[in-house]
Symmetry: C2
Subunit: 323 residues, 2 copies
DNA sequence: CCCTGACATAAGAGATGGTTATGCTTACGT
DNA sequence: ACGTAAGCATAACCATCTCTTATGTCAGGG
């Protein structure tokens, strides 16, 4: 028999981190038995693991020595690089732990305009107060665009609203892996001039059949028309504007009346001579949360969704949905 | 049902490099299918691998998107660190390949003095000529110490000699995981003054019974005494020295005769008036290679052993062992 | 509106990697 | 010098992991 130098063609296509961990433990402890103990394995497990490694490499990694074991040059190489590998893995694990522990993470929110000055600031305040590492980006967008942003992965969470029977109801568009959660019922209020004989109760919608109407966003206008027609008249739409302040000013100026969601009215003081009343047949729209299927499993996003659900929204006239 | 933020207590105790490789492939290719193809796996293999990872982390790593897949923040974290990990693993693999390819590696050799100026320099020249990356360290030591060096892992290869029936024959001491390989038979020569009536053939040992004898190392002396006693006389040991030049000078000065191995005589010219002759009953000692069990699997060491075995040693009067 | 491309799921097979039990070798203490 | 203890290797067995093939589902494009 003659000794022939080992010469494998391919060397170590896959060094897995488990093996490196073992090498490192052996390098540190100086014996297989001690390494096994420190890693929580039995001694043969480590022994076999090293054997597999040596078979794969085609060269020894350890030399069996009196009181334990000693690394060969190949073993030293592995131990040296193992430090780098394990350090990188640990720091990855740390970053993941930060994400899981809400010490980092970005949540991209899209919401309709009247939420921008009400629920959204409160929400962001709540979360950054509790989890300073979580960061947000915010996009103001009407429901159709907000939902599209989620669909395009440009946003993680969209806050939207829908009117009853709305064909654009996000509930219906939940096809492409989107999830919709009803959040609140938002009361619609009539905005009218404060006439002396108005009383303080609800107003019959039909009593405003002869008034001029100031309409808001396209979908809002659609809803208004539908509602009025259900009451037997077609509203005379004189002005259209998204601007809440403008609507109120127009009502104050006697240019007409309006139907507005309570959120839109929450942050602007009513001008003198203008008041709000519910219609006799109470009218509501619904605020929804739309998110991609599975997004809630991302810790920061899940936490944000939970925080939205537990927001105390009554102050803005929002009623939590019974579901 | 209410969404609850994901919050695992322990995160990712073990991220194995296989998973990181997968993440990296997905990050690069943008789809699971493409990643699978590039890694040589089936599509479901990667799909399941990601699922396992996500279950372990407790958060998604990918979002399923129209034409393929997209990394989440967690995925980005992993992809980023995966680069570091895989780079380290690759460079470890490179270094191992260097060891396997004899482009690096250290071989520690211990050998007896007369090898130092004969076979060892030739050997080192041969190997560094063919494999410039392989480095050597050399320790000159008498057989017992050389073997001890191997046993202590202070040397990888020992060259030793033994006399027939030698109680210290390394063959016998092969207990502690050492391996002994007979290499050459080395002829023992009588070193005598060049007397006129000497002839040119072998010399009967008994004819030197009355000469003074110059002895070498302790084991050589032991062998000499044994050999002479087998010839019916006890040699008169006048001088003892390890120094070949000294022995030759003493013989030249007429102080006695000596029995020396051919290697020791190979590199020193004989002084005038001194000649060498084999004893009538040819006498040999054996040169061995001693190495630790399994050392030969270390590429550089295995290559060195092979090179020793294929050394053309006839020039020094060494005969390759029949085995 | 069907067809294609891409991911998920299911079920089964084989490799992987672990455990316990046991043997062997070597060092150490008396 | 011998018995004992410490440490590695091996065997046999077993659970789990992970890959494969086959199939289902969903969204986008001609």
């Amino acid at each position: 028999m003659t000794f022939v130098p080992a010469s494998r063609s391919t060397v170590a296509t896959d060094l897995d981190s488990q093996t490196l961990r073992v090498i490192r433990a052996i390098a540190d402890r100086g014996s297989i038995t001690a390494a096994a103990a420190s890693l929580g394995y039995s001694q043969p497990a480590i022994s076999q693991s090293i054997k597999r490694l040596e078979d794969k490499l085609g060269m020894p990694v350890l030399t069996r020595v009196a009181r334990g074991v000693e690394l060969t040059e190949a073993g030293e190489v592995l131990a040296r690089h193992a430090a780098t590998v394990l350090r990188a893995i640990d720091s990855a694990a740390d970053e993941l732990a930060d994400l899981a522990g809400l010490r980092s993470g970005l949540v991209r929110i899209a919401a309709f305009p009247s939420a921008s000055s009400t629920v959204v600031p409160r929400l962001l305040g709540d979360i950054t107060g509790r989890h300073p590492g979580v960061r947000f980006s915010y996009l103001e967008a009407e429901p159709p665009e907000a939902v599209q942003a989620v669909r395009d992965h440009a946003a993680d969470i969209a806050l939207t609203f829908s009117y009853p029977g709305d064909p654009d109801d996000p509930h219906r568009a939940s096809a492409s892996g989107l999830v919709t959660l009803p959040l609140w019922r938002e009361q619609m209020l009539l905005v009218v001039p404060d006439a002396p004989g108005l009383g303080d109760g609800a107003i019959e919608l039909a009593s405003l059949a002869d008034s001029g109407w100031i309409a808001g966003c396209p979908r809002c206008r659609g809803h208004l028309v539908e509602l009025c027609e259900a009451s037997g008249f077609t509203p005379a739409l004189g002005y259209e504007t998204d601007n809440v302040q403008a609507v109120l000013a127009m009502v104050a100026a006697g240019l007409g009346v309006a139907l507005m969601p309570s959120l839109a009215l929450a942050t602007t003081p009513l001008p003198a001579g203008v008041t709000t009343r519910p219609p006799t047949a109470a009218d509501y729209r619904t605020v929804h949360l739309v998110t991609a299927q599975g997004s809630a499993a991302v810790p920061a996003i899940g936490a944000t969704i939970a925080a939205i659900q537990s927001l105390d929204a009554a102050a803005w006239g929002l009623e939590t949905q019974s579901r």
